[in-house]
Amino acid sequence: MRANLFGGWVNALATVTIAVLVATVASKLAHWAVIDAVWSAPPGSSGPCRAARGVGACWALIGEKYRFMLFATYPYDEHWRPALACAIIVLLYLATALYRHRLCWLAALWGAGFAAVAILMWGGIFDLPLVGQERWGGLPVTLLLATVGIGTALPLGILLALGRRADELPLIRLVCACYIELIRAMPLVSLLFMASFVLPLFMPAGVSIDKLLRAQVAFTMFAAAYMAEVIRGGLQGVGHGQVEAATALGLGYWRTHALIVLPQALRSVIPALVNTAIAMLKNTSLVLIIGLFDFLNAAKATIVDPAWQGFGLEMFISISLVYFVICFSLSKYSQRLEGQLGQAARH
C-alpha cells in the first residue's frame, strides 16, 4: 500500500494533491448533503428548505413527493397496485438470477408474474377499479418498458441474427441486414418520433393505438437490432464442427439451431446481453421526449410545483442514485456471470 501511494516523489505528490482535493470536496458535500440538510418538513410546506437554501440539501422534498415520483398520475388510493407490480417484477429478476438453469420453471414463473402485473396495473376484475394506460406513470412504466422491450426484442433479435446469416436466402439476408443497420444508425429519439407522429398515420381510420404501446413498439424495434448484433457475435463463435455433427445426425435447419447452435451461442453472449439490457433500461428515460411519464419524467414533473421550484438538484440526484443502484447491480451481476462462464469454458 505504501509503495502504491508514496513510491517516488511524483506519486507522493499526486497522492497528497488528490487526497486534499477529495477531502475538501467530501467535507463540503457532507455538510450540504448530510449535516446541514433538511430531512423533514411539515406536509406541503417548503419553508424549512427555503431557509436552508444554498447551505443544505432539501431531502424533505423527496419525502413530500415520493408517491408522485414513483407512480406519477396513477390514482392515489390505488398506489399499492403499481407498488406490488414493481415488487413482482423485481422478484422475477431475482429469481431469474438465482435459478437461471431451471428454464421451464422460470418460464412458468414469468408467465404467472406478468399475468399478476397486468391484473394489478389495469384492474377491471376482482373488484379492482379499471385504470387506463394513460394514467400509468413512474417506476412501473420504466420497469415495464424495459422488461417487455427486452423480452420481446430477444426472440426478434434471434430471428434477425439468423436471417442475417442465412447464406442461402440472399433476399432475406438483405432485408435483415438493412433493418439492423438502419435502426442502429438512427437515434432512439427519431424512432420514438416515428412511433409518436408517423405510426398513427399508418393505421386504418378509427384505429388508435395508445401512446405507451406505441413507445413500447418503437423500443422493441430498437432493442431487437442491438440484440441481433450481440447474438450474431455468439453465433459466429459456435464451431463449424457443431453444425456438421448435427447435420450428420440428420437434424434439419431449425432443429440444429434450436437444439445445438442457439443454446451454445446464447450462453456465450449472456454477459453482453445483460449489458445491452442495462443500456436499454437507461434508454427508457428517453420516452419523456414524447411526453410519457416514466420514472425520470415523473420526477421532473414534481419540481414544476411552484412550492418546490428550485430544488431540482436534490430531485435529480435522488433519481440518478435509484438508476445507479439498479444498473450497477445488474452490471456487477453481468461481470460475475462473465467470470463464471469463462471458468466453465476453461474446464
Binding site: 506519486n11 447464406d167 436466402l169 438502419l182 438512427m186 427519431s190 407522429f197 398515420l201 452490471s331
Partner: protein, 384 residues
C-alpha cells in the same frame, strides 16, 4: 460450412423468399394506403414543398444567420449544423478525457485508480438524460454574468453560459479556408514526394518546415490579398456582457459537457481494455531496455493498444452523435428539435422524420468512413 435449410436448394429457396417478400410488400402497401387515406382526411400535404415555405419558429443560437421567416430548409440546415457542432465538440473533449481516465484507472496510485473507477462506474450506470438534467440545474445555479467564474482569465463560466476565446474574422472568411486547403494538399504532396525520395536515395528531405511555411505564409498571403483581418479575441467583461470570444449558451455547454463526460467514461473502459490486452512481455521488454513506465506506455504499449481501441471507440463516437439528439430535452435547437417544431407546424411527419433518419445515416457513414480510414492507417502492414 453452414446447414442448409430444409428445401433451400434452388427453386424452393426462392419460393420461400418470394413469399416472405410478398408478405412484406403487402404490409408496406397496406400501411401506405392507410397513410394516404389519413393524410387526405387530415388535409396534410405531402411532398417536400414545405422546405421552401417560411419557418415560424425562432432558433436561439445558430452557426449561420437565421431569423423566423427564413425557409424551413434553412432552419433544418441550422439544426444540422448545430448537431454537427455538438458532435464535433463532444468528440473532441470526450477523447482526451477518456484516454486520461482509462490510463488513470490502471495507475499504480491506488487513490487515483479508485477515483477514476468510481467516476466510470457512476457515469456509466445512470441514464445520459439524468446527467443532462442534473448538469443543467447546476449550470443554472452558477453565479450571474457579473460574478462569472474565471478560468485562467480567458474563459468565463456563468449561469448565462461559457465564454471562450475565439478567432474573430473581420471580412470574408473563405480565403482562409482555401489557403488552409491548399497548404494541406501541398503538404500531403510533399510528404509523398519525401517518401519516394527516401526510398530512392535513403535520405528524407525536410517536410515539416515547408509545411509550416506554406500554411502560415499561405494564410497570411490570402488575408493580405482580400484584406480580411483576423484577431484572436479574448473575452472580457464589458458592462452587462462579454465582448470578444465566443459565447456558448447554457444549453450548449450542458450538452457538450454532458455528452463528453458520458462518452468519456465509455471510452475510458475501451482504453483500459486495450492497454490490458497488450501482453506483459511488451512492458517487461520496455523496462529491460531501461525505459521508465511512462515512456513504455507511450512508446510501446499505446501504439499497439490503439489498434484494439479504435474500432470500439468509433462506435462510441457514433453513439455520441446520435445522443446529441437529446438536445431537445434541454432546449438546444439541434436537428431533431428543429424538425420537431416543423412537424408541429406543418404536420408533415413522414417527410420530416425521413429527413432526420437520412441526416443521421449520412453523419454515421461519415464518421465511420473517417475512422475506418484512420484504422487502416494505424494497422500494421499485413493487417490491412
Amino acid at each position: 460450412m453452414r446447414v442448409r435449410m430444409r428445401g433451400t436448394t434452388g427453386l424452393r429457396a426462392w419460393a420461400w423468399q418470394a413469399l416472405a417478400l410478398a408478405c412484406l410488400a403487402a404490409a408496406v402497401w397496406w400501411l401506405a394506403s392507410n397513410a394516404l387515406a389519413n393524410l387526405e382526411a387530415r388535409r396534410i400535404n405531402s411532398g417536400f414543398d414545405f422546405l421552401q415555405r417560411p419557418a415560424a419558429m425562432p432558433i436561439g443560437e445558430s452557426v449561420i444567420a437565421y431569423r423566423p421567416g427564413d425557409s424551413n430548409l434553412r432552419a433544418i440546415v441550422v439544426g444540422l449544423l448545430n448537431t454537427l457542432l455538438v458532435s464535433a465538440l463532444g468528440i473532441a473533449l470526450a477523447t482526451p478525457l477518456g484516454v486520461a481516465i482509462g490510463i488513470a484507472r490502471l495507475s499504480r496510485n491506488w487513490l487515483l485508480a479508485r477515483l477514476a473507477s468510481g467516476y466510470v462506474e457512476y457515469v456509466r450506470n445512470v441514464p445520459l438524460l439524468a446527467h443532462l438534467f442534473l448538469l443543467y440545474i447546476l449550470m443554472q445555479g452558477l453565479p450571474s454574468l457579473r460574478a462569472a467564474w474565471s478560468i485562467g482569465n480567458v474563459m468565463f463560466l456563468s449561469n448565462r453560459g461559457l465564454v471562450v476565446p475565439a478567432l474573430a474574422v473581420d471580412g470574408p472568411w473563405w480565403p482562409v479556408v482555401v489557403a488552409i486547403a491548399v497548404a494541406f494538399v501541398t503538404s500531403w504532396g510533399l510528404h509523398h514526394h519525401a517518401d519516394r525520395a527516401q526510398v530512392r536515395t535513403g535520405r528524407r528531405p525536410p517536410v515539416l518546415p515547408w509545411g509550416i511555411v506554406l500554411s502560415i505564409g499561405g494564410v497570411a498571403l490570402a488575408l493580405a490579398i482580400v484584406g480580411t483581418r483576423i484577431s484572436f479575441g479574448i473575452p472580457r467583461l464589458d458592462g452587462l456582457n462579454f465582448a470578444g470570444g465566443w459565447t456558448l449558451s447554457p444549453e450548449l455547454t450542458t450538452l457538450v459537457v454532458g455528452l463528453s463526460l458520458y462518452a468519456g467514461a465509455f471510452i475510458a473502459e475501451i482504453v483500459r481494455g486495450g492497454i490490458l490486452a497488450i501482453s506483459p512481455g511488451q512492458w517487461e521488454a520496455g523496462y529491460a531496455l531501461g525505459l521508465e513506465r511512462r515512456r513504455v506506455l507511450r512508446l510501446i504499449v499505446l501504439p499497439q493498444a490503439l489498434r484494439l481501441i479504435v474500432p470500439p471507440t468509433t462506435n462510441q463516437y457514433l453513439d455520441l452523435a446520435k445522443s446529441s439528439s437529446l438536445a431537445i430535452a434541454i432546449g438546444y435547437p439541434d436537428l431533431v428539435a428543429v424538425i420537431n417544431s416543423i412537424i408541429t407546424d406543418t404536420g408533415q411527419a413522414i417527410e420530416a422524420v425521413a429527413m432526420i433518419i437520412a441526416a443521421f445515416l449520412m453523419l454515421n457513414l461519415g464518421i465511420a468512413a473517417l475512422m475506418n480510414w484512420w484504422n487502416a492507417r494505424i494497422a500494421p502492414a499485413g493487417w490491412r
